[in-house]
């Protein structure tokens, strides 16, 4: 630490530049992780809100809620702690000149997927809905009448609930009758028992579905099969992992160049009997200081700039993930220093004397 620290103090500019680069890499990693997290929650918020263990869909729907159609009677065959039925359809909702892509959930008010209301009240009459607060940010308000793209039905927002987006679309929660009128129009009566899926909370998921045409899908699997979800998170995570490699290589190159410049100095020190281990530890300590400062500054900058971002950018910072990524960055930086350590160990003190 003694050597590491004194060198940092003496050559401030040099090390500030390295810290600057590490900080930018850390900033990018944190920002991408925020983006990955934000985009993921854009897709899965409503599903996370269920706090369910699994969802039962028809086998032929290929894990798509929208494509699954079953009778509400199927619920009787399902042996689970708690169940909730759901009907789902997508639509464009419009009021005045404001338009939004929405996902309409038809649910039973007394079942567990009924969302908590943060403003207004629960839906009670026909065509009343509780909307995701994301719609509020887009300018929709309580009492707004929403016309829908595919039907003549008009919905009224009577309440708002937090964090309820499904596959990037804000959710409108209404009762099953409202959902059926939107989906089937005049044929709503005839399709009075149609739902899309059954959401379950259960300790054991085996032997849940009584019917062979039904498939029990764990919540996480269900989310991964949302359109675009896996592709999106894989892409962003790939970028993050690549940044880890890049930061390791950057540190390796920087430190290696610095070490090569100091070969004769290290040689002299080794000739004097200062152990290689001490010199190597000093380089590692230096890397740790550089990486830690870079990561911490990057962390603070990320949070600062996150506070000023417009809500249109779906960034959601998960502090725990960021801390883990920060640690990984520091660890890969230290791995990058290993090259320099090997160089130091190999320096022949004899060369320093010019013998």
């Amino acid at each position: 630490m003694f050597l590491a620290w004194n060198e940092l103090k003496k050559n401030k500019l040099r090390f500030v530049l390295i810290i600057g680069v590490l900080m930018l890499v850390a900033y990018l990693v944190f920002f991408l992780s925020g983006l990955a997290n934000g985009l993921a929650s854009l897709n899965r918020e409503a599903v996370d809100k269920w706090d369910a263990s699994a969802i039962v869909l028809t086998e032929e729907s290929d894990k798509s809620l929208l494509q699954s159609t079953m009778s509400i009677d199927e619920m009787d065959a399902i042996q689970a702690g708690e169940t909730a039925v759901i009907g789902q359809i997508n639509a464009i909702a419009q009021t005045g000149d404001k338009k939004a892509n929405v996902s309409i959930f038809g649910i039973e008010k007394d079942e567990f997927i009924m969302p908590d209301i943060i403003e207004g009240e629960e839906f009670s009459a026909a065509n009343e809905v509780v909307a995701a607060d994301a719609l509020k940010e887009e300018g929709f308000g309580l009492g707004d009448k929403l016309t829908l793209s595919s039907t003549d039905e008009t919905l009224t927002i009577v309440g708002f609930t937090a964090e309820a987006r499904f596959n990037a679309a804000p959710v409108l929660y209404g009762d099953l009758a409202t959902f059926r009128r939107i989906k089937f129009g005049d044929a709503a009566e005839a399709n009075g028992d149609q739902i899309n899926g059954i959401i379950v909370r259960s300790n054991s998921l085996s032997n849940l579905a009584g019917n062979e045409e039904l498939e029990v899908i764990e919540s996480e699997t269900f989310i991964e099969n949302l359109p675009g979800y896996t592709e999106q998170s894989l892409t962003l995570n790939f970028m993050i992992y690549f940044l880890f490699i890049i930061s390791s290589v950057i540190v390796a190159i920087f430190l290696y160049v610095l070490t090569v410049q100091k070969i004769s100095m290290f040689g002299v020190m080794k000739a004097q009997g200062i152990p290689s281990g001490y010199l190597a530890r000093s380089v590692i300590a230096q890397t740790f200081i550089l990486a830690a400062v870079g990561v911490i500054v990057g962390f603070i900058l990320t949070l600062l700039s996150g506070a000023f971002l417009p809500s249109a950018i779906p960034v959601a910072f998960d502090i725990l993930t960021m801390i883990i990524y920060g640690f990984v960055l520091i660890v890969v930086a230290i791995l990058g220093a290993v090259f320099s350590v090997l160089t130091i160990v190999k320096i022949d003190p004899l060369k320093a004397i010019g013998g």
């Binding site: 050597l3 004194n6 002299v268 020190m269 004097q272 200062i274 152990p275 004899l350």
Partner: protein, 224 residues
């Protein structure tokens, strides 16, 4: 008492008809309180002699004893320990770390080794060398003579049994060179250590107790 003893030490490079004898079979002995000069033209093998004496290079054959420890058969790590404990190097180029203040040059030794000079001894050393005012200066801020004096302070600070100096006056003008030799001499006598100076500068030899001459790998006692 012998502090450094070399018995039938020989160093060759290469093999067959390409074999070069950098140091022919040499017996050498240095006692406490002696200031010894090894002079000779460049390429005569005096650097080889110094690096072998300092445990930086293993001889092809022969034995080296430093303060009653046999260096033969030790690996680099073990030799490094002996260098740290027993030997103070003063090198041609300065052996100072560019990013450490003069004071910290010595503090570095405290980090890796016990048994260095006590606080008051250290102050006295600075005083003797006339470098007390330079304590917070970096090597780049010092003149060549000042740097060499700091290098001497560094070599002496760890209380070594032997000080090995490789052309310690090479970068200095005559006055400074005499000053440095004077210093080495007084430190050798006061601390009762052993100092071996390798140089091609014959003006320095009258400071020394013994002078050896190195010619083509053969070491001959010149003056006692």
């Amino acid at each position: 008492m012998a502090i450094l003893e070399m018995k039938q030490v020989k160093k060759t490079y290469g093999s067959g008809h390409k074999m070069v004898e950098a140091l022919k079979e040499t017996d050498f002995r240095a006692d406490k309180g002696e200031l010894i000069a090894v002079i000779g033209p460049s390429g005569s093998g005096k650097s080889t002699f110094l690096t072998i004496a300092g445990g930086l290079l293993s001889p092809t054959s022969g034995e080296i004893w430093i303060n009653k420890q046999d260096l033969s058969g030790l690996n680099e790590k073990q030799r490094s320990k002996i260098r740290l404990k027993e030997i103070g190097f003063i090198l041609q180029a300065s052996n100072l770390v560019p990013f450490l203040t003069m004071e910290n040059q010595l503090n570095l030794l405290d980090k890796v080794k016990k048994g260095n000079m006590a606080r008051n001894e250290r102050m006295q050393l600075f005083e003797d060398l006339g470098i007390s005012d330079l304590r917070n200066k970096y090597p780049a801020d010092l003149s060549g003579g000042e740097r060499q004096r700091v290098a001497i302070a560094k070599a002496i600070y760890s209380n070594p049994s032997i000080i090995l100096a490789d052309e310690p006056t090479a970068s200095l003008d005559s006055d400074r060179a005499y000053e440095v030799m004077e210093l080495l001499k007084s430190e050798t006598k006061n601390k009762n250590t052993t100092t071996i100076v390798v140089t091609h500068d014959i003006r320095l030899i009258h400071y020394c107790d013994k002078v050896y001459r190195m010619t083509d790998g053969v070491l001959v006692l010149d003056k006692e």
